[in-house]
């Protein structure tokens, strides 16, 4: 969290840029001893749904935060719609964020507001639309995620899947050019998981936006995305289309797709050999 001076969002972004996001040799660490990302290079073409996959703590969410300008890379370039994110001033950064819809891991709905008010929030903050117009837009967004009937509920009355769908409606409230999803499938039952997955794909195509999904749910992702990047220990170690991933013989990809406990990602983390630990010697 950073401190800031008051801002007035200004310049808009080029929505027609063919490459929505470009990360070029990006390195990031919270301090000199703790490197989170190393040499990340990826490109997300406009209109596509791209997944960034990897185990917990591998740096996936950090990539989203770099794209949204919440973090600055130690090295390398982060470019969104042709503009370098780390070089944006506060006004530019807020202008960028008005073009981005982000879904947080557990929805991050405002708990002191109803579902309706949650979705109306960005509209009220950034537009001068009349109450009637806002009402219509909110109900349209809720209708798109199948929750028009839940407009009057408070977030605590929603199931996990419903909360995620409300957060999805809020993420697209301002018709963004880019949608970022942080673990949209985490903790959902199979039905909700399928609904959220299909919604991400349908909304991406219907609204003409570009979507980046950070997830570790390989099966759901393979059904809906155009391209996948695999991240491990802060590096991209494999990438490809869903068909290429299914056919891949790469050991890490296979371990990830097949859910193997041991492989390139070891079952035992950072431990010395068992015999040494228990001082057991041969003979």
């Amino acid at each position: 969290m950073t401190l800031s001076r008051p801002v007035r969002p200004s310049a808009s972004f080029d929505r027609s840029h063919t490459t929505a996001i470009e990360l070029d040799n990006v390195t990031f660490g919270y301090d000199r001893t703790r490197q989170v990302l190393s040499g990340i290079t990826m490109s997300v073409p406009r209109g596509q749904v791209v997944a960034i996959m990897g185990g917990s703590g591998c740096g996936k969410t950090t990539i989203l935060r770099l794209i949204g300008g919440q973090l600055r890379p130690s090295e390398g370039r982060v470019v969104v719609a042709g503009r370098s994110v780390p070089d944006l001033d506060r006004d530019g950064l807020y202008a960028l964020r008005r073009e981005i819809g982000m879904l947080f891991q557990f929805g991050a709905l405002f708990t002191d507001m109803t579902v309706f008010e949650n979705i109306a929030f960005p509209l009220r903050e950034h537009t001068d639309l009349s109450d009637q117009m806002i009402r219509d837009l909110v109900l349209m967004k809720l209708n798109a995620v199948g929750l028009r009937g839940a407009a009057g509920l408070v977030p605590s009355a929603l199931s996990g899947g419903m909360a995620r769908r409300v957060a999805l409606a809020r993420a697209i409230a301002l018709d963004p050019m880019l949608a970022l999803y942080d673990e949209p499938f985490a903790g959902l039952d199979p039905i909700s998981l399928g609904i959220v997955g299909q919604l991400i794909r349908k909304l991406n195509d219907a609204l003409g936006i570009t979507s980046v999904i950070v997830t570790h749910d390989v099966y759901e992702s393979l059904k809906i995305v155009d391209y996948l990047y695999f991240v491990s220990a802060g590096r991209i170690i494999a990438q490809g289309t869903p068909d290429e991933v299914r056919a891949s013989t790469d050991p890490f990809v296979r371990q990830f797709v097949d859910g193997e406990a041991d492989g390139p990602v070891p079952f035992h983390v950072g431990a010395p050999p068992l015999a040494e630990e228990f001082a057991v010697h041969a003979g």
Partner: protein, 267 residues
Amino acid sequence: MPASVIADGLRRIGAGTRRAVTRLGFAARFTFAVLGHSVEGLRRIRLTLREIYFAGALSLVIILVSGLFVGMVLALQGYDILQRYGASESLGVMVALSLLRELGPVVAGLLFASRAGSAITAEIGLMKATDQLSAMEMMAVDPLARVVAPRFWGGVISMPLLAALFSTLGVYGAYLVGVKLIGLDAGAFWGNMQAGVDFREDVVNGIIKSVVFGLIVSLIAVFEGYDAAPTAEGVSSATTRTVVGSSLSILAADFVLTVFMFRGVGV
């Protein structure tokens, strides 16, 4: 003592000092940032009014009941002491001065820190822990203007009003005990109070104290919430720090303010 133990101790002291200075620097920057966003926050007055309701109106019960009982106890204790010197008619002025100068602002401030300050810290801390503040930032809405500044000013505005109500109920409690229960003359009770209380010296100084305490409690509350570690334990620790820090700061500030305000007492 081995050199390594000494070095380790020095290293810990150094690290602790560095952490404290860093936190102090962040708190100073935070204060300026909140003030910088205040105009923007106050422009949307509905947000601040909402916080006045949560911090002020919802604290009314504890403030009013406490004020009433403190006034009644003051009257009982005061009468017991004053009557030894044949000055029981001065009960009204004694209670009024005690409440207006000290107990009103200080006890209301302590209660406000416990009831509203802790709630503000917990709310902001939980918003941080559940990514609500990050979500706001990603929606190009500054949490300092939308969340922090209204809560800060809601607290600052509420505090003097609560202190005034505390003192009012305290005086009424003293009236109930002194006049209705003990049987002192009502005219002497109110008349001596009117003659002995100076508006500029006593009432205004009491209001100034309560405004300062409101600033202290509100600032500590929003800062601790904003700076809380985004975990259940972090929010819990931040809430505790708000209550302890606010209470100690109120008592320390009260001493300093009293020294400057009431020089006639011999300091």
